[in-house]
Point group: C2
Chain length 393, copies 2
């Protein structure tokens, strides 16, 4: 009965498991790695030596522990030398970051994004930001790939942006353009901002340790990143999570997608601004210009927040009935709305969601804030390295 | 670098993989097993001998192939000797079956279920059906467990039925009662009818080979079985898929759950019967008494079918936007409604779902029909055996 994974396959799996552990948990003693990975001490030593030889981790003495005796050596990810580029392409800004192994933001750039900017115009701006950041990369660094978070629908296979009504993009192959402009023969992987923010919070944020999570992200529209059974759920073509286009009010307004009464027509920032008598404005600053006065007691703003918050609860209750999650996270402008209207959201959740579906659900804001999109994009880019560490670099 | 799964673990994995293959695909030649499982011929021979020794498979000559040369021996699941009991506890009937390895329905019983029957009254009826079936079980047979499909919300850990408004059950521990009554020290596993029907169609029905599937099951209410990324999605406590309580019409009717405008208030059988002027009736016969006249041109029935079918499309479009599935299956009374109103469902799907989310979706009826619930319950019961074949029996 000799058949099974080969020694080489087992070694690659173990290398990946060790590198993933320090990527997620940071500097870790050999002793802890031995117990957490269920491998013996000599194996941990050999794996660490291989990874250190490839420049992916380093070993050293731990920081002061205050304990007597010879301390176990600590294995650290080479965060300053091993990195991915991450982009977040949003309705009103463009962000680029260099993210080190371990999830550290090493460098970053942010640009305003004038309305109507096309893919052809966005990509050179990101390329310029990368060129600038590249100048301060230490010699001998290892770049492992690029991830991009996109406000719109990014097809899993090729990053084709299928529909992004709030940017005016339709069927634009972002991944191809990014790869062409940013070159290096390295893969470029894409996802929606909601999806990648969910991934980031699951790996190293408020959702760490949870298996069923919904991350609602709001900008002009609303999307969800979904973790179910501990894994990202993105659907057949990577287009799942379009909860903003769940119809909740069939008699409501026409949506940018052509349908009527979509959830985002009731809870998107335009809905809030319309309810507050500020139609025509948009963006997070405009949202805060309603939410802040509401907090200070402005009756008109409070009424708008309550109305839109009630609709927020409607959709959350629907998702709780469908997914029975442990956690719902409110990110982007949904964070501001949720904080202002938590009572309405909770009340609607209690009246509309079944007790069994909602009884363990926690409502939270992101631990990583807006950085989640960048960190999640980098997580996606690191995935290849973490699966087979010695095959990359 | 010796660490990895032990020889014994690899052997168990391989035994499970071989048994699962013939369980799903039926009689399979050694040659095909060798190529499909990526194991060498001598390993397949040894594994088969072990499984045959445990009474789980048998080997023999294939049926006439018409090809010259010595044919490869065929490995068959011992369907007549290795079995699970499966129950389907529905709003208006109780079903029990003995299901052989390989998914064969060896024996079955069906009983009407008077309205208002409690768990305490249901379990003895099922126990009596099992006792009767047990009399014709061949000597030397191996019983591996019991699975139950329930109309209501069954908690994964203990099968507690949390809410089943259409049966009047609330917080009833079905699993405990089944285990106590039907004994044998074997595990009893539960799921909703929708969830287990989805599982059955995914293993051996219309959803085989698909990774993202929604199975809508209708009786008095509506639930969904969800397969995403190739795996069952059941949520934190096993209560996901309660799509019938997704609010689609906030101005609509009060639902049995206490909320208002839930999808099932618009598309459940009561909604159809009300729309057809037959309020007060219920059950599949009553649904057919609307659907059949509609097919024959009855204007009143057609109007009811069109109205309810339009609402069916509403909810399906929402789910397609959320899950980006390849397949939506309509089971139970949703099958009858879908077949009568496919045009309305498709039209609403086209207008309400985003193109990228719906472009690859197929709408289908179950291949296994109502037997899906029983076969799925048995799949759940077989899972332990298929994970570690020699540890069971």
């Amino acid at each position: 009965m000799r058949t099974g994974p080969s020694q080489d396959e087992i070694r690659r799996q173990n290398l990946g498991a060790l590198l993933r552990y320090v990527h997620v948990h940071g500097a870790t003693s050999r002793a802890e790695l031995t117990s957490r990975l269920g491998l013996n001490r000599s194996t941990i030593g050999a794996l660490t030596a291989d990874l250190a030889g490839a420049g992916l981790v380093s070993e050293g003495a731990p920081k002061e522990t205050g304990r007597a005796g010879r301390p176990s050596l600590v294995v650290r990810p080479e965060s300053a030398r091993v990195y991915a580029y991450a982009y977040s392409i949003e309705t009103d800004r463009l962000r680029a970051a260099r993210v080190g192994l371990g999830g550290e933001l090493l460098d970053r750039r942010e640009l305003d994004r004038p309305p109507g900017l096309l893919v052809d115009e966005v990509v050179p701006l990101l390329a310029a930001a990368v060129k600038e950041m590249q100048q301060s990369v230490p010699a001998g660094s290892i770049r492992v790939g690029t991830g991009a978070a996109v406000c719109g629908m990014a097809r899993r296979d090729d990053g084709l942006v299928r529909l992004s009504p709030h940017t005016g993009w339709s069927d634009e192959s972002l991944t191809t353009r990014l790869r062409d402009e940013l070159g290096g023969g390295l893969p470029v992987v894409t996802g929606t901002i909601a999806d990648l923010s969910a991934l980031a919070e699951h790996v190293r944020g408020v959702a760490a340790g949870y298996h069923n999570v919904i991350y609602l992200y709001g900008d002009a529209g609303i999307g969800a990143g979904i973790i179910a059974g501990g894994r990202r759920i993105t659907g057949h073509g990577g287009h799942g999570g379009e909860v903003g286009h769940m119809v909740v009010n069939p008699g409501g307004r026409v949506c940018s997608c052509g349908s009527r009464g979509c959830w985002e027509t009731e809870v998107g920032e335009l809905a809030l601004l319309r309810a507050a008598g500020r139609a025509g404005l948009s963006g997070q600053a405009a949202v805060l210009a309603v939410v802040d006065p509401a907090a200070r007691g402005d009756a008109n703003a409070q009424s708008a927040v309550r109305q839109v918050g009630d609709w927020l609860g409607f959709g959350v209750a629907n998702l709780v009935n469908i997914f029975n999650p442990e956690l719902v996270i409110f990110g982007g402008t949904m964070r501001d709305l949720y904080l202002a209207a938590a009572a309405q959201v909770r009340s609607r959740l209690n009246s509309n969601a079944l007790a069994a579906c909602r009884e363990h659900v926690r409502l939270r804001t992101p631990k990583l804030g807006d950085d989640g999109a960048l960190i999640g994009a980098a997580e996606l880019a690191f995935e290849r390295l973490l699966t087979d560490p010695l095959d990359v670099g």
